[in-house]
Symmetry: C2
Subunit: 473 residues, 2 copies
């Protein structure tokens, strides 16, 4: 049986490490197409790890097309050569890099992609045209590294009107996506600092920190958000959180914990809080709790937000709001960088906000998502699936949690759904070490789901949940 060492695991989680080892062997040809992988139970025993870890690694490999499963037979290596991209006319017979393609899905509860029907194409088009006609000189003038002032002013006004933040446009730094801004923050705050993220959370965020070769810890959460005692224990300098609507738990950090967190930050110069407010525009009900930024008088909070959620995931414009002393540090240290967003899009977005289109667009989107969420919840409640599930966290943001009463493991459930064209992810996948209570909870991100496919998707989930499976795998 194949075996792998967990000695050089670094900061990966166990399942990520196993996933990478197997993927590597497939890419290198050490595991040949059609070869059978060990059963999850045996493999786990052999490696001295838990079955759920092997399950998660297999699920990831399967989602990416590296392996496939045959019910009651097991897992097999895909022929990755057949998954190479289509030959294009320009490709003059040279070898192309082979990447496995993802299976086709009719419903994707994991996607953040905006549907094209909701992008304001005609307004955007008109604004670009005006820009190209009237502001040629502006368009060709290099902006400050923080971004075009007009856009920063527009964002400052939006933050004031929408979130009640009182900030100066000078505090805003524009960048091509939040991922890019995290990298800038590491350069600003220091590679020697100890960074930390929420557990569970988006794996991508910790990957970005690790990819920059900085220390990145995971801080467990309770029902009020991250546990502050752990920050002290682990000597964390910088904590990256989403207090308004945590992903994937949906937790909103209560005001008490917010003050405690600010208290923690105020105890050392090196401490900062990165407040990642990624989907704050979509709180669907209730009064929002004030951002950490707005109650921070010690200049300890860096607020980050993005237009990739509100406008389109393919328009790469995000921003951060730095405390004033960090603005100075930013210009002293990093002023040599050029702004990563093109002038054309910065000016267009500024006009879009200034002429009131952004506000209307958000309201329209919020209504649309509200409607979509209601339709999906209604669809679930009116299907036989209702007796197998309970729903929580449906009041905020663009996803909710669904606990399913099933004997299937999380990866079995996700895999069976995938085979029937429904991509779904389990809460346990977002933990470093999933607690038993996280099992059988799935994340329903409904932003990209088409309404006419809801019933079909719910039927698939019902069929899987209602199957009586007795550990056949």
């Amino acid at each position: 049986m194949i075996t792998y060492s967990f000695a050089s695991i670094g900061s990966d989680s166990l399942y990520e490490h196993l996933y990478k080892c197997i993927k590597n062997d497939i890419l290198q040809g050490n595991l040949a197409a059609g070869e059978k992988l060990p059963s999850k139970r045996n493999f786990a025993k052999n490696l001295g790890i838990s079955t759920i870890t092997v399950e998660n690694a297999y699920a990831q490999l399967m989602a990416e097309g590296y392996i496939y499963s045959i019910p009651k037979k097991g897992y097999f290596i895909s022929d990755i050569r057949t998954l190479a991209p289509k030959k294009h006319p320009s490709d003059t017979g040279r070898e192309t890099i082979q990447k496995p393609s993802e299976p086709e899905c009719f419903a994707d509860f994991t996607s953040n992609q905006t549907s094209s029907e909701y992008f304001p194409f005609s307004i955007w088009s008109r604004l670009i045209r005006e820009m190209l006609n009237e502001r040629q000189q502006n368009l060709m003038t290099n902006p400050p590294c923080g971004g075009i002032y007009e856009l920063r002013e527009a964002i400052a006004r939006h933050l004031q009107d929408f979130h009640g933040l009182h900030i100066s446009p000078d505090q805003i730094i524009i960048g091509a996506g939040t991922e890019y801004l995290y990298g800038i923050l590491i350069q600003l705050l220091g590679f020697d600092k100890r960074y930390a993220v929420e557990d569970p959370g988006y794996h991508k965020i910790s990957k970005i920190y690790k990819s920059h070769n900085v220390s990145c810890d995971y801080i467990p959460m309770d029902e009020g958000g991250i546990r502050i005692a752990e920050l002290e224990e682990k000597s964390i300098d910088i904590i990256h959180i989403s207090p308004s609507h945590q992903f994937p738990t949906g937790i909103t950090m209560p005001i008490g914990r917010r003050y405690e967190l600010l208290g923690w930050a105020s105890k050392a110069d090196s401490r900062y809080i990165i407040e990642d407010d990624y989907d704050s525009e979509f709180r669907l009900t209730g009064q929002p709790i004030p951002t950490l930024q707005s109650i921070d008088i010690m200049e300890k909070v860096i607020y980050i937000n993005t237009f990739t959620k509100t406008l389109a995931s393919t328009v790469r414009i995000s921003y951060m709001v730095l405390p004033k002393h960090l603005v100075k540090a930013y210009y002293a240290k990093l002023q040599f960088y050029s702004c990563t967003v093109s002038n054309f899009e910065q000016y267009t977005l500024a006009a879009f906000i200034n002429k009131g289109h952004f506000e209307k667009h958000i309201n329209r989107l919020r209504n649309y998502y509200h409607y979509k969420r209601d339709a999906l919840v209604h669809c679930i409640r009116n299907s036989p699936l209702a007796s197998h599930v309970s729903i929580s966290g449906e009041d905020a943001g663009l996803h909710f949690l669904m606990r399913v009463d099933t004997e299937l493991s999380d990866s079995q459930f996700c895999q069976k759904a995938l085979e029937q064209g429904v991509r779904i992810s389990a809460l346990s996948q977002y933990f470093m070490t999933p607690p038993p209570s996280a099992a059988h909870v799935f994340i329903i991100n409904y932003s990209s789901l088409e309404e006419e496919l809801m019933e079909k998707a719910v039927a698939v989930l019902y069929q899987i949940a209602s199957e009586n499976v007795h550990g056949l795998w």
Copy 2:
């Protein structure tokens, strides 16, 4: 007299460190507006450094408006409060971050800014409109992290037709500017590697490496480019060069040195060459020497190029061509990143290249710059300045060197020019430790100079060169 420690200098050059210390004192208010700075000679003696170092630091501070000079009196601290940005209507009386503004210039020989009259606005506008009408679904679909395939194919064809490079579109990674791509390369190649850049060279490149907390050495050059023996001595892993038209020297690395460099790289797995071909489209005369990438059979060369020079400095689209094994490593390690360029601009640029507009645009620009260079050289040769200067490196790229027969130090010369509205930089500024031979050589970047102002700019330079100055400063 004020004094500074050079103990904590880190990897800054002496003049950068001094510049930062003084700037910091000005921003903190330790040096008050109107206060006189020590004379360069006394200050240098006191700090135990050379006068040229103090000169360079003062020149930088002056260029940024932190200090000013009164002829025969000396240097004084500016009132930085008067340099704060204009109050904007949105700015509700809150304190703004104060940054000194740059002096106004009618001629800027240091700028890379494209003039707006040469951007193909009407074609670009039409292509965007078509895109927004016809390809809404594409525009809203998340691209692979390497960029939109259509654009990568277009770039591959352009590289084939224009530079004779035979590469697959899969090897191309699109990013929002070369600066962003350098950061990605560090994450790909490793933070533990020893990086190096050319000396003299663009300071920005070494700043980016240092800002990422990696080791970055300076490799001196001879007339054939970087000295390979120094790469061995300093145990360099990754060397970042511009062999086709080095900035600022204008050196084109001869073919023999290119092979030697590839030989150096092939001797260890960790060694790579980053070939930064930043202005290759603008070689004005002669047959280009093949790129390192095109003669590399060991997969040791990473080729980087950008559209910020050919299209507009405010359109942030650059790309790199990775050797095939690094493509695999890139997707294995960094696939979680979203592409930093928006779909709108990627599709527009792809159409711009595919419909033949890019080729026409480059030809048009090349003719324009050719004409501009000829006009400027003609203007110099027909002015009394001709008897004070000699010109070199005018055959390639967008700048040439001008040696001036003057008793003024480089920083005096630049400062006097600046006072009369001409921004110019000296070759010596681009060295870590300028050799005596670099003195009195200035860099003439003519890309943004307006033709009708050439005579005026040349007259200013003549006036300064012809003044009989006997070390009055």
